[in-house]
Subunit: 107 residues, 2 copies
DNA sequence: TTGACACGAAACCATATGGTGTTATATCAT
DNA sequence: ATGATATAACACCATATGGTTTCGTGTCAA
């Protein structure tokens, strides 16, 4: 679908692809089973799977006339590492505290 | 640059925008200072900032004739939460162990 | 007040993205 | 062998994306 290689960040940018990942996290399945969860054609899902495959987040194994796709979550480590850098600027606890203080200052 | 609202996932999909976030994490700065770090026009950076602003990852404050942009990392929590779900399928420790085993099997 | 500076807005462009439909090919069941 | 099934491959389309250039406007400094 594109000339340039897709990375993990681009792969998870699309809501359909995130839902595909979630479905595959529950159970490996072929394209047609995946497609039944979406209001779009099998061809569209196939393209999303191609992008996810490029990012190495899924892999497909041909079994008879089916091709079973399954989740391959390791590349998400790159995302985790990227995110870890920003946690020095924010933590859930400190953020909540800050919001409380800002709300108090409003009156 | 678009009719649909951009979310955090789309915002961080672009390498330029990720670099903008990193730069702003070091120091708040106006558009022209940001632009000097990239091989593209000020207008292009302005569009990226608009997308980051839509995702509420940055905010700009007008100061005189400048507009100072600064990082607003809280929306990254959504990403962190999304990622947390997949950590049940994989952990750094187990991944490293698996890689070590695979390397050992190579000879 | 006259530039120079920082930015915003608009028009434009090439390519990417996300979808469609059609056709072809391999496999399984009868 | 035939037909149904599962998917791949291809051509096509509208819109989004990521960039450009040009022009307009508010602000600071001389």
């Amino acid at each position: 679908m594109s000339a340039v290689k897709h990375d993990v960040f681009q792969a998870i940018a699309d809501p359909t692809r995130r839902e595909v990942l979630r479905l595959l996290s529950e159970k490996e399945m072929p394209i047609s089973a995946l497609t039944s969860h979406f209001p779009m054609s099998r061809t569209a899902i196939a393209k999303h799977l191609a992008i996810l495959t490029e990012a190495e987040l899924v892999s497909g194994e041909k079994v008879g006339r089916e091709k079973i796709y399954r989740l391959h979550p390791e590349p998400l480590a790159e995302l985790k590492d990227w995110l870890a850098y920003y946690e020095q600027f924010w933590s859930n606890k400190l953020t909540k505290l800050k919001y409380v203080l800002e709300e108090n200052n409003e009156d």
